[in-house]
Chain length 289, copies 2
């Protein structure tokens, strides 16, 4: 049982975690920290937090758990503020979409990564953001990746793992480099592709109104382009080492496909589309497991 | 009231049209033509067609309407078979995803496009295909584009327009070149992007199982990669003149974005993502209208 959870960043992810823990009776008190006062008020009205602060110092006071659920770009600043307030008995974890940059920032600030900080990432985004989008069921059957280091204390890892399992999530352990490599492929690259397409077609639409003839396929394909731009800015910059080679690989694959189309090589094109369809079926089969 | 509708190609689109017309009592008899006997049997069992033929000659006998709802790649062959059977009082229309190639094929075969053929395209795909996927509500509130030519007889255009309106669709008129330009942007390009991504990540998944960490965003982004490969092969080859420049433009935009990420130009990247998010909102607002 958590006595006082300090939630730094009261958005979709943090808010949903708080709601789930409350619903399961696993937390006595939730204190929110957020720079946006209106968002804190909303979170309080929605029963996500008991009270809110705009200051981290006030928020972490006497907390036995601290969950950092902000965009990754602001995390280095948060850890710098946390350093003088750090207590060895407190469980610290984060929900950042990238892991190597968070680990790197903590290393730089603390010298080495404290044993009571467990890097984590619930893979459960949505195109909505803010406390208002939070829901207690967000993590049911979703994956959560924890990226412990050699210095991570097993007892703290266990506690964070149990926390996420209590929300209905399936927990996997993965080192932070591998996490960033996998997520670059399955999440970061698709988001970049969707943003670039939607921006490009948005310019076309201003000239000749093409969107009115776009249908359900387009709606689903571009859904992730409605994601929070600030959060995705942070992710792209934080994980550029993994994302950039994938973009290049994708541009090459796309160029090869264009050549196949230009040459009218029906057999090759059919093989590619058929392979894609089969790959997606493999993905769907896994999703249902 | 249609006395005998001959449906050449009994798949998702043709089957849904037949079901809708039957439900509204606008057709007395539907005769299906399909090379796939099992599919014809399914269609008959589902009440989509009254009887089926694998031969076009037998299928069009005494029909007063002929709807061609096959992949566009086989349409030239179908029009060649139809030519000696053509009757001036019959309404002919198609549902092909591209229009210039269909018009071009008909021109080549007939010398000029007959006044009783109305090129059409219901923008209502789905990733499922075949008669089994058909449903009477598929066209409700969906767009149907008709691309009449100068030679098209207004009376036949009116009748095809009324037919589609009776299914609940919103009908727009657009010349065939413009149709292909618009659809290349809103549909063909996104499909190519999804196929290429899914195939590329499918190869990665075989090496290191990344799909198990992909979530809802990936599922929606790649949904269109589950579309019928044969149909999309035809579309890509038929409309390559419009698709190829768009692929090139997209590759350039993606390359510029990669450079912005590589240079860490946060302001530019945030502007791009914000613009994309706003463009998608404009699209959603139109979809609801």
């Amino acid at each position: 049982m958590i006595k006082r959870l300090c939630l730094i960043g009261v958005g979709l992810i943090g808010g949903s975690l708080a709601l789930s823990l409350r619903q399961k009776g696993r937390v006595e008190e939730v204190v929110g920290v957020d720079p946006d006062l209106a968002n804190l008020q909303t979170a309080q009205q929605l029963g996500i937090i008991d009270r809110g602060h705009t200051s981290i110092q006030a928020g972490v006071e006497n907390a036995d758990w601290v969950v950092i659920a902000t965009p990754v770009g602001v995390m280095p600043g948060i850890f710098s503020v946390l350093k003088p307030l750090w207590r060895d008995e407190v469980v610290y974890t984060d929900t950042g979409s990238t892991k190597s940059d968070v680990v790197e920032a903590v290393k730089q600030i603390f010298g080495e990564v404290p044993g009571n900080f467990v890097p984590g990432h619930p893979i459960a985004g949505a195109e909505c953001s803010g406390a208002r989008a939070a829901n207690a069921e967000l993590f049911v059957n979703r994956r959560v990746i924890l990226s412990p280091l050699r210095s991570t204390h097993p007892e703290f890892l266990d506690r964070v793992e149990m926390l996420w399992k209590s929300t209905g999530a399936k927990v996997s352990l993965m080192d932070h480099q591998h996490h960033d490599e996998v997520l670059a492929a399955t999440s970061h690259l698709p988001h970049v592709l969707a943003f670039v397409l939607t921006e490009m077609l948005g310019r076309k639409d201003e000239q000749q109104e093409i969107f009115q003839f776009a249908a359900g396929g387009f709606r689903d394909f571009t859904r992730i382009a409605s994601s929070d731009p600030r959060m995705w800015l942070d992710i792209c910059l934080a994980n550029r080492r993994e994302i950039l080679p994938l973009i290049e690989q994708y541009r090459e694959a796309l160029g090869e496909t264009a050549e196949i189309i230009a040459n009218g090589e029906a057999g090759k094109l059919l093989a590619l589309f058929t392979e894609a369809q089969a790959a997606r079926q493999r993905f769907l089969d896994q999703l249902e497991k």
